[in-house]
């Protein structure tokens, strides 16, 4: 689906954001893109969609070079930016103007999604709140039936019921042909939705592994005391939340926040496990 080879990118020459980054993404997965502020999550997504030009390396998205911005590729990309703009028109006229560009656009599906998100189809886009607009572009984007779905912080601005609706919608949106990439700070909003974690740090991919692989190799649990087998631990009410190698084939639940902090703090300990 996506192949990144030795990607080099930076907004200025002296401050590279990615150095020789390589990665492969395939369909049938929901990738969770994690990283500190400024680690380049949004920038990586923009590279994939051809919104910015890499300084070096190759990008292959469904057989296309995204920087060429060919219509055949663009019609297969659903990109939900963190900050977006919708013209001040009615939903109906927005659809009439934009939907025909997508050969597989599914109006029936859009109606279902809008209903699920509680957005009346007669609404004017300008009268809607930020959250409603966001839900609208998500619904529109999914209804294009694009094979590559890229979402930058999709749950920002959604209220609690909308987040649950969002998770349901994304669970149903994942098909074998689709590749979904979601960047997020709100790990807890989405952690059961993500099946593969991609973490960016220090100009490169710090970790890319499926939840299954991570929980086979690592175990996440509460412990009373810290010993040297523990990679990383954070104090909690009843002892410590700890990450350690999974010696006893325990089936623990991946704690994404803990993993995130653990990798930022103890990168070298994790490297040999995931290479």
């Amino acid at each position: 689906m996506i192949e990144i080879n030795n990607l080099n990118f930076g907004y200025s020459k002296h401050k590279p954001l990615f150095k020789n980054m390589s990665m492969r993404l395939s369909n049938g997965h929901i990738y969770g893109l994690l990283g500190k502020n400024g680690a380049g999550k949004s920038t990586l997504l923009k590279n994939l969609a051809g919104l910015v030009y890499p300084q070096g390396g190759q990008l292959d998205v469904m057989g296309f070079n995204p920087t060429k911005r060919q219509p055949a590729l663009l019609s297969q990309i659903c990109f939900i930016p963190e900050e977006f703009y919708l013209p001040p028109v009615k939903i109906d006229s927005y659809l009439k103007a934009n939907a025909p560009f997508y050969p597989n656009f599914d109006h029936q599906y859009l109606a279902t999604l809008l209903k699920e998100f509680d957005i009346p189809a007669s609404n004017k886009l300008i009268d809607m709140s930020y959250g409603q607009k966001k839900k609208f572009i998500i619904a529109f984007g999914l209804a294009t039936q694009a094979r590559l779905v890229i979402m930058d912080e999709p749950t920002n601005g959604l209220d609690i019921p909308s987040k649950a609706q969002f998770r349901k919608i994304m669970a149903s949106a994942l098909t074998d042909e689709r590749c979904i990439i979601i960047s997020t700070h709100q790990v807890r909003d989405l952690d059961n939705l993500i099946d593969t974690v991609i973490m960016l740090d220090e100009n490169d991919v710090a970790l890319k592994a499926s939840v299954e692989e991570i929980t086979t190799k690592l175990t996440f649990k509460k412990v009373k005391e810290i010993d040297e087998s523990i990679f990383y631990a954070e104090p909690s009410l009843s002892g410590y939340n700890a990450v350690m190698p999974n010696y006893h084939h325990e089936e623990s639940k991946l704690d994404m926040e803990l993993l995130f902090n653990a990798i930022l703090a103890e990168k070298t300990k994790f490297k040999p496990l995931f290479s």
Binding site: K46, G50, R69, Q70, P71, F84
Partner: protein, 259 residues
């Protein structure tokens, strides 16, 4: 081709509003100027030049209308969220560029001319119903020339001469279209200022260079450049080349726009 049609339809949603507002203002301004300048007093006192305000009006409103419509077309690309949407529309860059040309050239310029023609026709025909004012003289060949001082604008002698500057609207379009994609904000003001600075520098340097070169010299070459039509031809050619170059740069900027 089908996609180009879709794009025209889609872009109307974005550009149509600005265009229609500009057009409305244009119409209002033209009517206002005609109303103010055409008074019974002016007509009855038999001023020969009572309709002469039309020529500067034509040039100034024409410049403003074409520059504003051209300048606002790519304005959206200065804001990231809007630029993202525009880049991701599944159409080729060429199609997007041609759509820009369609609205800022093929729609704007003829609609301006038509608007001016209609306003002029409405006012002038009502004058002609009740007034006539002509004068005449005899030219070198002994032929009698009659000047109709209440002629329709596009049949006046001066307006006919304007035709040899047909490239001006294209040049203005190309400059402001480029400005709208080149600058991130305040496109119009920045483009206008750059244009002014450029023109002043150009004129100043031309005068300087030419005077340096030609001071205390006499023309000994062929009389080719003495002929006005040849000079016109050369300036037209330069202007058209500049226009093409500006369009080309605009296209490249559009292709390489990042968000």
């Amino acid at each position: 081709m089908n996609r180009f049609g879709l794009l025209l339809k889609r872009q109307w949603l974005e550009f149509g509003k600005i265009y229609l507002i500009s057009f409305g203002v244009l119409l209002g301004v033209l009517i206002l100027f005609y109303k103010i300048n055409i008074t019974e007093d002016n007509l009855n006192s038999r001023y020969y030049n009572s309709l002469n305000f039309r020529h500067p009006l034509f040039l100034v409103t024409g410049f403003i209308f074409i520059s504003i419509t051209s300048s606002s077309y790519f304005m959206n690309l200065g804001q990231k969220p809007k630029a993202i949407i525009n880049i991701l529309i599944p159409a080729s860059t060429l199609e997007k560029f041609l759509t820009a040309m369609f609205y800022t050239l093929i729609v704007s310029i003829p609609s301006y001319l038509l608007c001016f023609y209609l306003v002029d026709a409405a006012f002038v025909s009502s004058i002609r119903d009740s007034h006539t004012l002509t004068s005449s003289y005899t030219d070198y060949d002994g032929k009698k020339i009659v000047i109709d001082h209440f002629a329709y604008f596009f049949s006046t002698e001066t307006a006919i001469q304007f035709r040899s500057f047909y490239y001006m609207p294209l040049l203005i379009n190309s400059i402001f279209l480029l400005g709208s994609i080149f600058f991130k904000n305040f496109h119009y003001v920045k483009t206008a200022i750059s244009l002014m600075v450029f023109v002043v520098l150009w004129i100043a340097s031309t005068i300087y260079v030419m005077s340096k070169l030609t001071d205390n010299t006499v023309w000994v070459g062929s009389p080719y450049w003495q002929d006005e039509t040849h000079i016109f031809f050369a300036t037209n050619l330069v202007a058209l080349c500049l226009t093409m170059i500006f369009w080309l740069i605009t296209f490249i900027r559009l292709k390489e726009k990042e968000a």
